[in-house]
Symmetry: C2
Subunit: 653 residues, 2 copies
C-alpha cells in the first residue's frame, strides 16, 4: 500500500481565495448579507408565516440590489450574469425557500421575459420585476407533462377577429403544476402553450397572462389552487393554474423567436419546430447552472456542520482511556471525506459553468435585432450544465443524508439545520429537469458528437428515442482527446509513472472509460434502427447510456478540479488540494472498479491497492478536514446548528 | 445472456398469505383498524396538534386492546410477543409518530419494567401502563453518550440513612436526550444510571423515577426541556431530562438482576459487570426487531405508491405514438425492482426474527424466580436482530428516497405521503442503536464465532476495540456451513449447474464471501494485539469489519427468502417469487462484483452476464410489479396518496 507523505498544516484563507474565484466580491457581499438579522435562519414556522417572511426577504433583496445583477442596465439591471449566478449560489447557504422564490421571480419569470420577449415586454415588465413591484410565475410544467414538455397540452389559439390569444386548459392533466409564486403572490404568469393559428399548431410558445387583479383575487377564467404542504421549501407558494378560455392581447406573445401578425400570419427566425423549441429552452440554461450551484452550497453547509461535529464529538475510549473523536474512525472518514472531495470537484466545475455562461451569453445591454450568432461553446455548455446539475443535486441528496446520519440523533433535530437542508434540497433532483432525463440528454449529445468525430453512423432512426426524451438541442461534444490533453498539460504526475497516484494513469482511466462506454453504446443503438422493436433495443441499453453520461461528467469534474488547482502557488495548500483531488479520482475509480476490470483495465492487485489508497488518503486528510470546510467560509449565521459550536456547549456544561 | 422463461400471471392473494405468516390474524386485525377514521393519515398538522392527536390515538389503541399483547396475563396483558411485534409492524403503515410513541410507551418503558423489574414493579405499574393510565419514558441516551451507553454519566447513589437513591445529572453531557414521552405526557421515567453504593460503582442500572405530578408539572429537582421540532415524528414529544439530586425509594431500583439491601449490600445474579450490562440490554432486543419491522412497513407503503404511479404515469411517446408508462423504462425498473426484491428478503428475515423472539423469550406468565436458562438460540438472535435492523433501516432510507424521486414533483407533495415516510423513518438508522455500531456488533459476534469454530486465535487484546464499541453480549455465530447446507436443501437449482441462475452457485458466492471476509479480518485484527498502536490496526480494518457484517446479513436475507418460499405450492406465484429471489441474489452479487472478482471468484464474462441477467429479470418482473406490491396488502387508507389512484384522477379529468 502506497500513501502520500504527511500533509503540512494549510491556511484555509488561501484555499478560500482559490474557491471564491472570479466573482469573489459577490461572495464577500453575500457573506456580509448573511449577518443581516433579516436573513437569519428560522426553523419551525408554519407555512403562511414562512411565505410571508420569504416575501419580506425578497423585498430586502430587491432593496439591496441583489435582483439587478442579471438584467439590462436600461431596465434597472446591472448586466452581470456571472455575478447573478454567484450571488444566487451564495444565497443557498441560508434560506432555501428564499433561494427558490428568487430563482422563480428573477431567474425563471424575469429570465423568460428577458430572453423570450422583445423590447415591448422588457420595457413593460422588467423594471417592475427587478424592483419586485411585479411578481410572476413561470408556468411550463403540467400535471401530465413534466419531462416531456414539448408535448404539453395547454393551448393558445389566435382569434383574429379579436386580435387576441385564447389560453385554455383542456383537462386536469393540462393544469400548470408546481408553479412557484402561483398560490399567493404572482400577478402575471409566463404560460407555455401550444400556439394555434387557424387549425395549425406551431408548437410551444410563451405568453404573458395576467392571473390576479390588484387586490390579489384570481382573474375571471383563471383557477388557482394551492399545492399545499411539501417536503420542504414551504416558504415558496407553489400552486396549480388552469385557464378557461382566458383572452390576452396578441402582444402578450413573447416574440423573440416567432411572431403572429395582425392577419394571423405566423413568422419565425427558426423554421424547424423542434429546433425552435430547444432554442427557447436553451436560453434558460441559467436555471440549471443556478440549481447546481444552490445544491453545492447546501451541501457545503451540511459538510461544514457534520465535520465540525465529527471533529469534536467523542465516543468510546481508545487504548489510553481517552474518548476518541468520531472523525478519527475510518468508517466516519469514509462517509464524509470522499463526499467532501467530490464537493470540491463540483465547486470547480461550477466556477467553469458560471464563467462559461457569462462568456457565451450575448451582452444584455446590446439592442435586439436579428437572431445573434450562437457562441461556439454554447451548446457544449448547455449539455454540461444539464449533466453537472444532475450529479450535483444527487450529490447533495446523498451527502446531506449522510451528514444527518453522521450527526446521530442531533442531526435529526431541526435546530441543527440538517433536516431543513435535506427537505429543502430534495426536489432539486427533479426540478429544472429530472436528473435521469438530463443524463439522457448528455448522452445524446455525446453520441451525436461521436458521430461527428468518427464518421457516418446512421443514428437517425435509433436516436429518435433518445431525442424524444431530451429537452434540449443537439450540441457538440468536448472530445475525450481534447480533455485528456488539457488534463495532461495541467497535471504533471506527482509520483512514479503508472502508480495509482500517477495523474496520467487516473486521467487515462477516466477518459478511456468514457470513450469505451460511448463506442459500445453507439454500436448497440445502431442496431435499434433495423430492429423489429426499436424501443426494446433502446430500452435495454438505457443503463449503458446513463453510465456513459455519468462517465463524461466524472471527466468534466476531474478536469475542473485539476484546472482549478493548477495555478495555485506551491505550498501546503496546493499539496492538500492535490491529495483531495487524488481522493476524488481514486474513490471514483474505486466505486466503478468492477466495470473497469470487466473491460480489461485493472488487475486484482491494483484494484485492492485502490481501496487501501482511499483509506490512506482519508487518514492523511482527516487532520485537515476542518481546514477544508473552513475554506468554504460558510457564514457563521448559516452554521446556526448548535452542534457545530462545541465550545459553546462546553461553556454551558 | 440467459434469462428466465416468461412468468405467468400470479394471484396477489396467494402471495399475501405466504407473507402474512404465523401472525396473519394480527395483520388482518390491523388492516381492519386502518379503516377506522380515528387512524386516518393526516398531513400538515402543527406540532402541538399532532402530539394531542397521537395521544388520542394511543388511547384508542389501548381501548382496542393493542397494548395488551406483550404483557403477562395477570397484569392485563395477553402474553403473545409475536403478535405484539407483528401488530407494531403493521402500525408502521399508518401514523409513524403513533408507532414510535407506542414503541416508547409499551415497548421501551413498559418493556423495561417488565424485563428489568420484579413482581413489585409489575404489580405497581404494568396494569396502568397497559391501559395508558400511566405514561412513561425510557431514559437511557445522554447528550454525551448515545452509542457508548455503558459509560453514561447519570448517577444513582444509595443513601443508606434515608434508604433512598439519589439520582443526579452531573453536567450538560449527562442530560437524558431525545427521550420520548418526556416533553409532554410522561409521568415516570425508567432512568439508566451508574449505581453507586458507598464509593463503589456497580455499573449501569435502571430506576423508576417520577418526573411529573398529577397536574403535569415537573417535580422538584427534575428539569424537563423540549427537543423541539424534528425532521419528522413530530407527534412524539421528545425531551431532555436532568435530575438535581432527586430522591427515590430504594424499591425503585428495577432489581431483576441485581439488588441493594437495606444495609447497602449489593447483590447480583451476574457477577461480571460487563456481562450484566449486556444481559440487561439483551432483554431489549425486541426494540430492534420492532424498528426493523416498522422500517419494512414504511418501505412497503412507499414502494406501493411508487409502483402504482410508475405503472400509470406515462411520459414520452414510443414508436407507435402512444406514451409509455414510466415503469416500462429500464432505468425506472432498476430504481424500484431490486429494492422491491430486497424488501421481500427483509420481510422473510423479519418473519424469522419475530418467530425467533417469540420462541426464545421466557413465558411472560411464568413466575420470576432464579435467572432462567438462556435459550440456546437467543444470542444468535440478538446479533441477527442488530444486523437486520441496520440493513432494513438503511434500505428504508434509500428506497423511500428513490420512490420520492421516481414520483417526480408529485413525490414532493406531502399529500402523496412520501415526504412524511421519508422524514419519519429517517432516524430509524440511528435509534435503537446507530447502524454502523450495530454492524460492528454483528462482526464481533462473527469473529467470536470464528474463534470458537476454528481454533485458538488470541482475540482478547484485539477484540477489546471491537468490544468497546459493541452494545450487546458476545453471541454464537450461525456457522456459514450450516446456513449453506440449509439453503442447498431448501433451494434445488432451477437451471443448469454453474450458471448464474443456479441457486448453488449463488449460495456458494454468498457464503464464500462471508467466510473469506471473516478469515482475513481475523488475521488483520490478530495483528492488533502485538501492534504498537492497536487502535490504528483496528481502525484500518474497520471497513473490512463492516463488509464482513454486511456479507453475513446478506446471507441471512438470502436464507430467509429461500426458506420463505420453499414450501409454497408449485404455480405462478412460486415461480414469481423464485424470480424475485434471483433478482435479490444477483443484484446483490452485481453490486459487490468488484470485490468478488478481486478475490478470484468471477470471470469478466460471467460478471457482465450478471448485469444482463439483472436487466432481464427487471424486464420479466415488470408486468408483475403491481401484483408484488398488492401482495403486501397495504390498507387503502394508508395508500392515501392521490398519485396512487390514477383512476380517480382520470374520472375528475
Amino acid at each position: 500500500m502506497s500513501s502520500p507523505t504527511p500533509l503540512e498544516p494549510a491556511d484555509a484563507g488561501i484555499i478560500r481565495e482559490v474557491l471564491d474565484g472570479r466573482w469573489r466580491e459577490t461572495r464577500e457581499r453575500a457573506r456580509e448579507l448573511a449577518k443581516d438579522p433579516r436573513f437569519a435562519v428560522e426553523v419551525g414556522e408554519g407555512t403562511e408565516t414562512q411565505r410571508a417572511r420569504v416575501l419580506e426577504r425578497m423585498g430586502a433583496l430587491a432593496e439591496l440590489g441583489y435582483s439587478k445583477l442579471g438584467f439590462p442596465t436600461r431596465y434597472g439591471g446591472s448586466n452581470d450574469i456571472g455575478a447573478s449566478i454567484t450571488g444566487f449560489e451564495m444565497l443557498a447557504m441560508g434560506d432555501l425557500s428564499l433561494l427558490v422564490k428568487a430563482g422563480v421571480q428573477w431567474g425563471l419569470f424575469g429570465g423568460a421575459i428577458l430572453h423570450l420577449g422583445t423590447e415591448r415586454h422588457h420595457a413593460a415588465y422588467l423594471p417592475a420585476v427587478v424592483k419586485l413591484e411585479l411578481l410572476g410565475c413561470f408556468a411550463m410544467t403540467e400535471s401530465g407533462h413534466g419531462s416531456d414538455v414539448a408535448n404539453l397540452r395547454t393551448t393558445a389559439t389566435f382569434d383574429q377577429d379579436a386580435d387576441e390569444f385564447v389560453i385554455n386548459t383542456p383537462g386536469v392533466s393540462a393544469r400548470k403544476e408546481y408553479i412557484g409564486n402561483a398560490a399567493r403572490d404572482g400577478r402575471l404568469a409566463v404560460v407555455f402553450a401550444q400556439l394555434m393559428t387557424g387549425a395549425e399548431s406551431q408548437g410551444v410558445h410563451a405568453f404573458v397572462v395576467p392571473i390576479r387583479d390588484a387586490t390579489g383575487a384570481a382573474l375571471p377564467g383563471v383557477r388557482i389552487e394551492d399545492c399545499g404542504l411539501k417536503a420542504g421549501l414551504n416558504g415558496v407558494d407553489n400552486g396549480r393554474l388552469s385557464f378557461d378560455h382566458v383572452r390576452i392581447p396578441r402582444d402578450n406573445l413573447l416574440n423573440r423567436y416567432s411572431d403572429v401578425a395582425r392577419d394571423g400570419t405566423y413568422t419565425t427566425l427558426i423554421d424547424n419546430q423542434t429546433k425552435r423549441f430547444f432554442t427557447m429552452l436553451g436560453t434558460l440554461v441559467q436555471g440549471r447552472i443556478s440549481v447546481a450551484g444552490g445544491a453545492g452550497s447546501a451541501t457545503k453547509v451540511a459538510l461544514t456542520i457534520a465535520i465540525r461535529y465529527g471533529d469534536s464529538r467523542r465516543q468510546f475510549a481508545g487504548p489510553d482511556g481517552a474518548e476518541i473523536p468520531v472523525l478519527d474512525y475510518l468508517a466516519h472518514q469514509r462517509k464524509l471525506l470522499p463526499a467532501l472531495a467530490k464537493s470540491y470537484a463540483l465547486h470547480f466545475a461550477q466556477l467553469e459553468l458560471v464563467a462559461g455562461l457569462h462568456e457565451t451569453t450575448p451582452d444584455l445591454d446590446a439592442p435586439l435585432d436579428e437572431l445573434p450568432a450562437e457562441h461556439p461553446d454554447r451548446r457544449e455548455l448547455e449539455a454540461r450544465a444539464a449533466g453537472v446539475k444532475a450529479i450535483a443535486t444527487w450529490h447533495a441528496t446523498s451527502t446531506i443524508q449522510t451528514c444527518r446520519e453522521a450527526c446521530g440523533g442531533a442531526g435529526y433535530l431541526a435546530v441543527n439545520r440538517l433536516p431543513g437542508l435535506k427537505a429543502d434540497t430534495d426536489v432539486f433532483t427533479t426540478f429544472e429537469g429530472d436528473n435521469t432525463v438530463l443524463l439522457q440528454l448528455v448522452a445524446k449529445e455525446l453520441l451525436t458528437g461521436y458521430r461527428d468525430h468518427f464518421g457516418e453512423l446512421d443514428m437517425m432512426g435509433t436516436a429518435r428515442f433518445v431525442a424524444d426524451q431530451a429537452v434540449e438541442t443537439v450540441v457538440e461534444r468536448v472530445g475525450g482527446r481534447r480533455l485528456l490533453q488539457r488534463l495532461r498539460d495541467a497535471a504533471p504526475s506527482n509520483s512514479e509513472d503508472g502508480t495509482i497516484f500517477d495523474h496520467d494513469w487516473q486521467i487515462d482511466i477516466f477518459t478511456w472509460r468514457e470513450k469505451h462506454l460511448l463506442e459500445t453504446l453507439a454500436k448497440r443503438l445502431r442496431r435499434a434502427a433495423s430492429a423489429d422493436d426499436p424501443f426494446a433495443v433502446f430500452n435495454a441499453a438505457q443503463d449503458h447510456l446513463l453510465a456513459a453520461a455519468r462517465a463524461h461528467i466524472d471527466n468534466v469534474l476531474l478536469a475542473a478540479f485539476v484546472h482549478g488547482i493548477e495555478n495555485m502557488p506551491a505550498g501546503p495548500e496546493h499539496e492538500l488540494l492535490v491529495a483531495l483531488c487524488d481522493l476524488f479520482a481514486l474513490s471514483t475509480i474505486e466505486a466503478d472498479r468492477g466495470w473497469i476490470w470487466e473491460h480489461g483495465r485493472l488487475t486484482a492487485a491494483r484494484s485492492k491497492s485502490l481501496i487501501a489508497a482511499v483509506n490512506g488518503l482519508c487518514a492523511a486528510l482527516r487532520p485537515h478536514a476542518r481546514t477544508l470546510v473552513d475554506a468554504f467560509e460558510v457564514p457563521d449565521a448559516a452554521i446556526s446548528a448548535p452542534i457545530a459550536w462545541p465550545e459553546d456547549a462546553a461553556t454551558s456544561a
